[in-house]
């Protein structure tokens, strides 16, 4: 498909490599939206790609840590396979490849274990198959049929049929190019979790004890590009940090927010600049108000996008939306897209009534 020598892995975030505003869907059903990287983030990402090190991203919730991985996968596919952003009128462009750039996501939960990301071995299924065979082959044929019995016998002979790879395990297998791996919200897991991944992240190889298989390490030009995000709920252990590059994603400035809105909503906001300006003003006030309040979390970019989506619904007139914005303190459902707790909503209502009196 692609010549090995000239795969370009750099990330530019340029306009020509952005998906359309309504989003692009890959064969796995994952959606890609336009993403405007912050210059520092772009540099950090390129550095991590060049040095073949995992990149740890931290930042306020909703500042776009997770989205950047998808944006990278999309750009790499565009750049190297010539996939152009799909035309909105023709959702399936003829150039679109059948399979997509290998992009693995490992969502960490509080019960995640390091091994889950590598592989799982279904010992129960194997035990069940062995029991079934042992219970008498003749009877089995009668119940399961010839074909199913043969399949069962074949399965039982080959241990590898019972193991299934996790996201990291897949990324470390033989690849034709460097895949993208996202380990999302690593701080959610057990505090030992990052330490359990040291060898895998360092040497990019692991062993499956149940089948005596050795996976990896991949060749130098096929190493996965690993992005790890964290919300800073827990400190991460130092040996783990030492192996990663680190970047703190700052909250976008007002100008950047404007371009993000333009990229995400495209034509839908072209006629509604006044509305966008007012909405940004309100957002800015809430952001600063909650930033000062101990224990409150100011809204992030994703909340702002939701807020705008609610405002620019197609059947809603601009005037109506502007009135809603002006009385934001009373429009609780709309306010709820930006402020998520009752206490903070009350605070906002109180301060806004005070400022309108004064």
């Amino acid at each position: 498909m692609t010549n090995q020598a000239n795969v370009d892995y750099s990330y530019s975030g340029e306009q020509k490599y952005q998906p359309i505003a309504d989003g692009f869907r890959d064969p796995d059903g994952r959606e890609y939206f336009p993403y405007l990287p912050e210059p520092g983030l772009k540099k950090a990402l390129n550095l991590a790609i060049a040095l073949k090190r995992p990149l740890l991203l931290e930042g306020e919730p909703g500042c776009g840590k997770t989205r950047v991985a998808a944006a990278l996968a999309y750009e790499l596919a565009c750049k190297n396979w010539g996939t152009q952003p799909a035309d909105p009128t023709k959702p399936k462009s003829p150039k679109q490849p059948k399979d997509w750039w290998n992009f693995y996501i490992w969502n960490i939960t509080s019960s995640s274990r390091a091994q889950d990301g590598l592989y799982t071995f279904d010992a129960v299924a194997r035990l069940r198959d062995a029991q079934l065979i042992g219970s008498g082959p003749e009877q089995l044929k009668k119940y399961l049929g010839e074909q199913e019995t043969d399949a069962l016998e074949n399965r039982l002979k080959d241990k590898t049929k019972y193991r299934e790879f996790g996201a990291l395990g897949q990324a470390l297998q033989a690849q034709t190019y460097r895949p993208v791996l996202l380990i999302d919200e690593i701080d959610k897991a057990d505090s030992d979790f990052p330490n359990d991944l040291l060898l895998e992240l360092d040497e990019l190889r692991f062993t499956i004890g149940d089948t005596n298989e050795n996976i990896g390490p991949p060749e130098a030009d096929k190493k996965p590009i690993i992005l790890i995000t964290s919300n800073r709920e827990k400190p991460l252990p130092e040996p783990f940090l030492r192996r990663c590059l680190y970047y703190y994603v700052p909250f976008p400035q007002a100008d950047t927010l404007r371009s993000i809105i333009a990229a995400r909503f495209g034509q839908r906001v072209a006629q509604k600049q006044e509305l966008v300006n007012q909405a940004l003003e309100k957002f800015d006030r809430i952001y600063r108000l909650l930033g000062r309040q101990p224990g409150s979390r100011p809204p992030g970019t994703s909340e702002l996008l939701e807020f705008l989506t609610a405002l620019i619904q197609e059947d809603k007139a601009v005037e109506e939306a502007i009135t809603e914005l002006e009385n934001l303190a009373e429009e609780l459902p709309l306010l709820g897209t930006l402020i998520k707790t009752k206490a903070d909503q009350d605070l906002y209502v109180k301060t806004s009534s005070k400022s309108s009196e004064g």
């Binding site: 540099k43 060049a50 740890l56 029991q131 057990d190 030492r242 680190y246």
Partner: protein, 381 residues
């Protein structure tokens, strides 16, 4: 550039001296990045504002700064700025006088938090050192009849803490025993085989929850004035937390007793609602350690103090796996004060500064260690 083979080695060493725990491998990362063209943007245009350092700064920051005390961003910025200033002055001087200035290594940054160096104690039986013997010294003769006190042997800097860091770490290991917790999603092979042998055929598997060491420590420190003299005794614990030997752990401050707000340890002006801290606790994972006198320094407890403490403990107790109250005052000083009452409520979970006592508390089996408050003695005191 200082050297083409080892570019910016002096910067790297300055950062190391300033306390960043950088390894040779991390220096190699910088070399690799420079080789691949990172960090040298705008390098040729030697404009006077020194903008061409920005790219290098960004690259070094991504490579070396991490969310940890040993890779602190403030230390990095300080050292980097000083380095850039030095270099720029060097270049300017060169341009002015064509004299090559002697390259001075940047001054090591003083570590910000460190105890004053404890002078070695002189042992009573120690021999005077050779130099002392050689140099004639004027001898001060004391007043007749009064014993002479050698004040060099007295040290007011505490050095031997009642709770050394080692024993704290041991207690922590005991506290974070693994527990089976959560949904049953691990195959219990032994129980499955037992069932097969019992029933004679394979019917179903037996599942059990995964064993995990998921424990977090929350330390609440009373930073009221009466607690100031005891602060050094807490330092080993704070050190262990700051060097991440006890992790995950969070330290908060309060004064006298925690009410609606707790305060951040690093930034005492930052208030955190107690509700928020409570809501983040986990009944099977959170261990709370309280450092305070519980009113042992006040002979006449006020009613506010008592109700405040009681409310606090009542709210806290259903949210935690275990609680230890470390009272730096010895138990005989608790008698007749509020501390005696609190110790009674806590049913043996208040202890003084003694390593065996703390270890014993940590050893309590986790399953029975659910916190139940005893009913308070009404009108007691």
């Amino acid at each position: 550039m200082s050297d083409l083979v080892f570019p910016f080695l002096d910067l790297f060493q300055a950062l190391q001296q300033a306390g960043m725990k950088l390894s040779a491998e991390q220096y190699d990362l910088l070399r690799q990045s420079l080789c691949q063209g990172f960090g040298l943007e705008n390098w040729d245009s030697q404009n006077k504002e020194g903008k061409y350092w920005d790219d290098l700064r960004q690259v070094c920051r991504v490579l070396w700064v991490k969310p940890s005390r040993n890779y602190d961003v403030q230390v990095f910025d300080q050292v980097f700025n000083r380095y850039v200033n030095q270099k720029r002055q060097g270049i300017q001087a060169q341009q002015r006088a064509e004299v090559i200035p002697t390259a001075k290594p940047p001054k090591p940054l003083e570590p910000t938090r460190q105890w004053p160096k404890v002078p070695l104690r002189k042992m009573a039986a120690s021999q005077p050192s050779v130099e002392e013997a050689k140099v004639p010294v004027a001898v001060k003769t004391g007043l007749a009849g009064l014993p002479e006190v050698d004040d060099t042997g007295l040290s007011l800097t505490p050095s031997q803490m009642p709770l050394p860091q080692r024993s704290l770490l041991d207690s922590w290991q005991l506290l974070r025993r693994p527990l089976r917790d959560g949904t049953r999603n691990e195959l219990d092979m032994d129980a499955t085989i037992r069932r097969i042998t019992q029933e004679g055929y394979f019917s179903n598997v037996v599942m059990r929850p995964i064993k995990s060491k998921r424990v977090e420590l929350i330390v609440l420190v009373d930073d009221g004035n009466v607690m100031l003299p005891f602060r050094p005794a807490l330092q080993p614990l704070i050190n262990a937390i700051e060097t991440q030997q006890i992790t995950p752990a969070t330290v908060y401050r309060f004064t006298t007793y925690p009410d609606e707000y707790l305060y951040d340890w690093q930034q005492p002006t930052q208030a955190i609602p107690f509700d928020q801290v409570l809501s983040r606790m986990h009944v099977r994972r959170t261990i709370v350690l309280i450092w305070g006198d519980a009113g042992a320094t006040q002979p006449n407890p006020s009613e506010d103090h008592r109700t405040g403490l009681m409310t606090f403990l009542t709210r806290l107790s259903p949210c935690v796996r275990s609680l230890i109250w470390l009272n730096p005052l010895p138990p005989h000083r608790w008698v007749g004060t509020l501390a005696e009452e609190v110790a009674y409520w806590l049913d043996g979970r208040m202890t003084y500064l003694s390593a065996p006592q703390v270890l014993a508390l940590a050893k309590r089996p986790a399953t029975d260690d659910r916190l139940f408050l005893r009913a308070p003695i009404l009108g007691g005191g």
